[in-house]
């Protein structure tokens, strides 16, 4: 996906800030009415003090027709389960979807998915049972959380009548914390310094991870999973609680 700078828009609705995901899941399991969502929440979520190295993680990446979940659709989803020790590429999954909104020429250029490719692809509704059962119990890892979180929430709301909330670890945000804690000083700007890029590719380079061709859902998911492993290896302790990372 594309990164368009830090999120300053604070768009339509302010998302609920959830601290205790474990309690939230337990509560939602009782509250939601659709059976798919009941099952999803019933799987529960690890407590916030669980060490990150014990947490089952799921790298997820969406390729979309644009950036606005109201007017754009999902064309593909990539999933890769992993832990801090190992990324299970052998269990990676990818779906092509028929978006509810037309592919744009721009989006075709970006992710190389064409009209004919998605012509016979399923709708998100068709894969939701499988997608949700895979996501259940996992902490989702993305690079730039606003895409996956908002597209899935709205996509589910449209199809099942209720939205979905889940904890996310955003590798972009972790990178921003490490490199953009304070804005550049006047002095630095005067010397021509520019802020470090925290796009996926540039972030990966800092940890000597190899370049991958971007905008392929599974590849981007693997790339984020590798990046999180690298970030934690370099900057954190594997025993750090998951609550330090998720939001």
């Amino acid at each position: 996906m594309l990164y368009l700078g830090p999120d300053r828009s604070n768009n339509e609705q302010k998302p609920v800030v959830i601290k205790d995901w474990s309690a939230y899941y337990a509560q939602q399991a009782q509250r939601v009415s659709h059976s798919l969502l009941q099952q999803f929440y019933a799987q529960g979520m690890v407590a916030g003090d669980t060490p990150i190295s014990d947490v089952p993680l799921m790298a997820m990446d969406f390729e979309t027709t644009g950036l606005n979940p109201q007017t754009h659709g999902i064309v593909s989803i990539g999933l890769v389960p992993f832990t801090l020790q190992r990324i299970f590429c052998s269990r990676a999954r990818q779906w092509l979807l028929k978006p509810r909104y037309q592919l744009t020429d721009d989006s075709i250029t970006v992710h190389r998915i064409t009209h004919s490719a998605v012509e016979n692809a399923p709708d998100l509704a068709d894969i939701l049972p499988e997608l949700l059962s895979l996501l259940a119990g996992h902490v989702v890892v993305v690079h730039y959380k606003h895409i996956e979180r908002s597209f899935l929430d709205l996509g589910v709301k449209t199809r099942l009548g209720e939205g979905i909330q889940f904890p996310v670890i955003d590798t972009l945000m972790l990178e921003a914390k490490l490199h953009r804690q304070k804005p550049l000083s006047l002095w630095d700007r005067w010397r021509g310094k520019t802020p470090l890029s925290i796009r996926l590719h540039d972030s990966r380079q800092r940890y000597h991870l190899p370049p991958y061709r971007p905008h392929h859902a599974v590849t981007d998911a693997i790339a984020s999973a590798e990046l999180l492993q690298a970030q934690i290896a370099h900057r954190y302790h594997p025993q750090a609680p998951v609550s330090d990372f998720w939001c």
């Binding site: 990324i87 590429c89 052998s90 990676a92 999954r93 000597h208 061709r213 690298a230 290896a233």
Partner: protein, 627 residues
């Protein structure tokens, strides 16, 4: 369906041993891979922990270690590790640490085992340490060789024509005429069997009779037609085993100037090959060059054959000849140059005042000569040699040969180990004294220059003196631990590198170099090592392979070790040979400096294993001879 792990697949398609796999197998590997990131300095594998996957380096660099903490290998992108552990019980043998930030692809044990079992090339790549595999690899190579790899039996055109040893010369001549053959094999006959021991001999070869024997030993001598054929035959003729290479038959015939060579199988003759059979078989080759050498009359004419010698060398490499074939062909050519030069020298200087033996030393004596080589030679003179009267003749003779050899591409020996040096132009008794003093009062310093004298071969003249000297050495050396220890100390001054990392040669201590002196770091210490073992068991063999054969027979080395040495030596020598052939193909002067980037992954891996064998053997040598 298109697979989703496209980056993994693309990576596999760029690296051995995966890129060589059939498309569906690569895809199968690609979808089974899991991934892990290791920060520089972190442990990837610890000794003896359970191992469930082959490790492939996607990016970064990794070091593996022996149990004692010694560096075992350094690997970069595309490198694999963990294979030894997987093949031997599924536990880590060589602990691994990330040298740089590293991304590892894990290939599950089941997939690895399947590839290893189904795919010989893959197995060879990951397991070059296993001598069985290396051997099978060599066997398939040999079968591709049309000319040089063919065995003697393929030349046999008919059953041998034989007669019992009791037959008369007349019967023999009749049979030869009837069968239209120019040679006849004479067999031990049952009627002559007087003891069970003779019984065993029945049907085995007693001798050979040729047209020439009948002419010279019967007709010219005015002998009776009833003369037993056993009286005119050549007894105990040279023979060759049916499974030996045609090439070896050629060398045997050249060495002994034979025109007919009986081929035996389980000691029974199964045919005869004539020199014409070989010539028909091998038209433009080393044999042809040898025969050309003897037709030239001046040094300039001899010099004109040098391009043919190089072409012959390259041709043998192209045809996948092994190092023994190439080494002995080049030695035979070198020997022929010497012999022809000596003939020419004698024509010019007149007959020698006392008998002499011209010696070849070093690689020529070992039958391991290549194209880019020093001349190392010496003269052994009759004990009646009187310097005042005779030395001028031999000085001139030596000068003539030495200059001639230099003109033909055998550069002067920088250590001045040549017959032109009066020290190495001495009577047999002095040579015997040299050897005694080297062996009986050894010191590493004294032996530094003289190890080359323990590879000697008579090329011309009284060649049995060379044999005598070899036997003297064989008797003396094995009882002299101090001598063997001194030789060992010298042999251990040159060690092999550890392996390769990216485009560098990596040393045991982790330092990196740009190029590999393949002779100094490989073949030379190897030859030294084998020579010492051979001396310690009194072997009179000259070639490294012959010596290894003797070591196997003597059982001095731990089981299987000698075979490993043989395979490792072949790998190193062939690297050197291919390097020199490449230079010749490109019109450059061959040398001994191999650049790592010129080596394929496969060659690097084989070389690394071979260096390991050499390095271990050096440790064993040091311990064994208490150096």
């Amino acid at each position: 369906m298109e697979i989703e792990q496209i980056e993994i697949l693309d990576f596999l398609k760029r690296h051995s041993p995966f890129q060589e796999l059939p498309a569906e197998q690569i895809e199968q590997v690609a979808i089974s891979i899991d991934v892990g990131y290791f920060k520089a300095g972190t442990h990837i594998l610890s000794f003896n922990e359970p191992l469930d996957s082959l490790h492939l380096i996607r990016s970064g660099a990794v070091e593996t270690f022996r149990r004692n903490g010694e560096l075992y290998n350094r690997l970069s992108e595309g490198g694999i590790f963990g294979e030894q552990g997987l093949l031997r019980g599924g536990k880590v043998r060589f602990p691994a640490t990330a040298l740089e930030d590293t991304l590892i692809y894990f290939i599950p044990q089941t997939i690895f085992q399947q590839l290893f079992d189904d795919n010989d090339e893959f197995a060879d790549y990951v397991e070059v340490g296993d001598s069985e595999r290396r051997k099978s690899n060599k066997a398939t190579q040999t079968s591709q060789v049309d000319l040089l790899g063919a065995t003697v039996e393929t030349l046999i055109q008919r059953e041998p024509v034989c007669i019992g040893s009791e037959a008369s010369s007349w019967q023999a001549a009749q049979l030869m005429t009837e069968q239209n053959v120019s040679s006849l094999l004479i067999l031990h006959n049952s009627e002559h069997a007087e003891s069970p021991r003779d019984e065993v001999l029945v049907g085995t070869l007693a001798g050979i009779v040729t047209d020439k024997d009948i002419r010279m030993r019967l007709v010219a001598e005015n002998g009776s037609l009833e003369t037993p054929v056993s009286d005119i035959m050549s007894t105990v003729p040279a023979t060759i085993e049916h499974k030996q290479y045609i090439f070896e038959a050629m060398m045997l015939m050249l060495r002994h100037n034979l025109h007919h060579l009986p081929v035996v199988k389980k000691q029974r003759p199964i045919g005869v090959i004539a020199i014409s059979d070989i010539i028909r078989f091998e038209s433009q080759n080393s044999l042809f060059i040898v025969s050309q050498i003897f037709r030239q009359h001046t040094i300039a004419e001899l010099q004109s054959l040098v391009p043919d010698v190089h072409a012959c060398f390259v041709r043998m490499v192209n045809e996948d000849a092994n190092s023994q074939m190439i080494g002995s062909a080049m030695a035979a050519i070198g020997r022929s140059f010497k012999q022809r030069l000596l003939e020419l020298a004698e024509e010019q200087l007149g007959p020698p005042p006392v008998p002499y033996c011209f010696l070849a030393l070093g690689s020529m004596a070992r039958d391991e000569q290549l194209v880019f080589t020093d001349q190392d030679n010496a003269l052994v003179l009759d004990n009646r040699f009187d310097p005042a009267l005779h030395d001028e003749y031999f000085r001139q003779l030596a000068q003539f040969v030495s200059d001639g050899l230099a003109a033909c591409g055998y550069t002067y020996c920088t250590g001045n180990i040549m017959a032109t040096n009066a020290q190495w132009r001495q009577p047999l008794s002095v040579w015997q004294h040299y050897f005694r003093s080297w062996i009986e009062q050894p010191s590493p310093e004294r032996l530094l220059q003289s190890s080359i004298f323990f590879d000697i071969d008579g090329v011309w003249g009284e060649t049995h003196w060379a044999k005598q000297l070899r036997q003297l050495v064989s008797q003396l050396a094995r009882q002299r631990p101090l001598f063997l220890a001194s030789m060992t100390r010298n042999a251990l001054t040159r060690t092999p590198p550890l392996g390769f990392f990216k485009d560098f040669v990596m040393e045991q201590d982790g330092k990196q170099n740009n190029r590999l002196g393949i002779k100094r770091r490989g073949t030379a210490p190897f030859v030294d090592l084998i020579r010492i073992h051979a001396l310690s068991i009194g072997s009179t063999e000259n070639s490294t392979f012959g010596r290894i054969q003797d070591l196997i027979a003597a059982g001095t080395l731990p089981k299987g070790r000698a075979e490993d040495l043989r395979d490792a030596f072949e790998v190193i020598v062939m690297t050197r040979i291919r390097h020199q052939a490449n230079a010749l193909r490109q019109g450059e002067a061959p040398d001994n400096n191999v650049l790592p980037e010129q080596l394929s992954d496969f060659e690097r891996k084989h070389l690394k294993e071979a260096f390991q064998v050499l390095s271990n053997a050096q440790k064993f040598l040091k311990f064994h001879f208490k150096a």
